[in-house]
Amino acid sequence: MTTVKFDPTKGPLKVCFDFTGPFFADYTYKLREANSNALADGPKPGDNKNTQDDCYLLPTPVEQNDGRKIVLSTDFVSPPAQKGMAYSIVATVSQNGTSIGSDTDSGTLTGDFQDSLLVIFLQKI
């Protein structure tokens, strides 16, 4: 789990997911309430089929995201020909168009089903 600090007086937070490498991925994005398993946003399903950005704006006012957790759960697989190649899944949080932190899962494609979980803890400055 990575902690990302944000400025509650600045613009809205945005989280973007990037999937790099020769694999197919389907994911679910959730935003959990502080100190609770209840959801503040999501679950929102997505995939890496198209070229559209996989980005989500977090709820406003910005300050209420203090203590919340961004959860990205991804299932992915590569065709057999791409087995052994590298993959990377990155969740990046930005504010006012500037990256303020990210979490990454990277490794080697096995050709079988693989899964990944990225958790980002949001904390106001």
Binding site: M1, D18, F19, T20, G21, P22, F23, F24, A25, D26, Y27, T28, R32, N37, P43, P45, D47, N48, K49, N50, T51, K69, V71, S73, T74, D75, F76, V77, P79, P80, A81, Q82, K83, G84, M85, A86, Y87, T108, D112, F113, D115, L117, V119
Partner: protein, 377 residues
């Protein structure tokens, strides 16, 4: 006798392919890179009379050697080539959804080779480019395959998330409640959670793994000999000194286009065009050749045989313009998944009065990285 010599590979192919390996078994074991890897630089340096370039999937790295055992003696292979793909490295740095847009880039490889011809006292160096421009058997591009895989991934992701939420809810009132962090290594309840998770998902996951295997096998069986188009280009420079230095001069240029298509369910038919311009060292003129080849493969992924017919038009100032033709046959087989041997035997009819048809036999070694190994981790 000569005829028997030429037919020997074909008889061998027929006996192995038709009697020992059933076609159904063959289809199950076929990989999509049906033909052995080919490198334009090696082909441009080589003496193989066939002018066809085989279609092969782009790999991180491949090597080719001419024989290192001849006339009962072990020798340093006179010809050697290395093939690598910068596009494959790029592929691991980019999202897969731009794969189709940059398809040719990802499926381009560069080859470099050298050859020492002691008899002619000629050193050569070659550079080649190989590009797959169209391929119906590429799983990263195939819409049906992609949709089927995404459907499975969605199902698996939904299932995992449902189980995850159930486990979190069940333990929400523990002294230290389970949380998302526990799903990552290092969380307080990681081991307990993994045990609970595994018991609920293991059977489902095994079933989904079987579905994925089945999908991949079906795809291979259906597409191993799919339509594809490959183009390649190579340039050769040479010199007659003992050291390769600034006296190198243009020696040869070759250009290939190969179209491949299914030949029934059990074979692959290649139609190849080749153009080449080569220096004639005896009179310093250039010979321009254009060939049309037709090759049919039958076999499986480990061993396959082929027959080929080729017609070549040569614009040669020494012999005058003429047509020559070639009958070629051969075997290609793997010793390991990444070591290939190619045997060719046939006869070339020069099409020039007074020059007899010439039988030949050649063999080469080719190496690729094993399927489970990648340079670009």
């Amino acid at each position: 006798m000569k005829k028997l010599y030429l037919l020997a590979p074909l008889i061998l192919v027929a006996s192995i392919t038709y009697s020992q390996i059933s076609f159904r078994q063959a289809a199950d074991t076929m990989l999509l890179n049906f033909a052995i890897p080919d490198q334009p630089a090696f082909n441009a340096l080589g003496t193989n009379p066939s002018n066809i370039i085989r279609p092969s999937n782009t790999r991180d790295l491949a090597l080719a050697f001419s024989p290192f055992y001849t006339n009962g003696k072990v020798i340093i292979p006179p010809a050697f080539a290395l093939d690598f793909s910068p596009g494959m490295m790029y592929l691991t740095k980019k999202p897969v959804n731009n794969y189709e847009k940059l398809y040719a880039l990802y499926n381009t490889s560069i080859s470099v080779g050298t050859n020492i011809d002691s008899a002619k006292k000629l050193n050569s160096i070659a550079v080649g480019l190989n590009m797959n421009v169209y391929n119906e058997g590429d799983q990263l591009k195939d819409k049906d395959y992609k949709n089927a895989v995404h459907a499975m991934l969605r199902e698996r992701n939904d299932l995992r998330n449902t189980v995850m939420e159930q486990l979190l809810a069940q333990h929400a009132h523990d002294a230290t409640p389970w949380a998302d962090e526990d799903f990552e290594k290092g969380g307080k309840h990681y081991t307990d959670l993994q045990n609970a998770f595994t018991s609920q998902l293991a059977l489902v996951d095994a079933h989904m793994g079987d579905r994925l295997d089945s999908l991949n096998k079906d795809f291979k069986a259906k597409h191993w000999n799919s339509r594809r188009v490959d183009v390649a280009l190579a340039f050769v420079a040479g010199n007659t000194d003992s050291v390769i230095d600034k006296k190198m001069f243009f020696s040869k240029e070759m250009f290939w286009v190969t179209y491949s298509q299914p030949f029934t369910k059990y074979g692959q038919w290649l139609i190849g065009l080749n153009q080449q311009t080569a220096r004639n060292y005896s009179n310093e003129n250039f010979v321009i050749n254009a060939s049309l080849s037709s090759r049919v493969y039958v076999g499986n992924n480990r061993i396959k045989g082929f027959v080929e017919l080729q017609g070549t038009y040569s614009n040669d100032s020494t012999l005058a313009s003429h047509w020559s033709d070639l009958f070629n046959s051969g075997l290609e087989f793997t010793i390991k998944d990444f070591i290939w041997v190619s045997l060719d035997a046939g006869a070339k009819n020069w099409g020039v009065k007074g020059i007899k048809a010439e039988p030949y036999f050649t063999w080469d070694w080719k190496f690729t990285l094993p399927e489970n190994f990648s340079l670009f981790k």
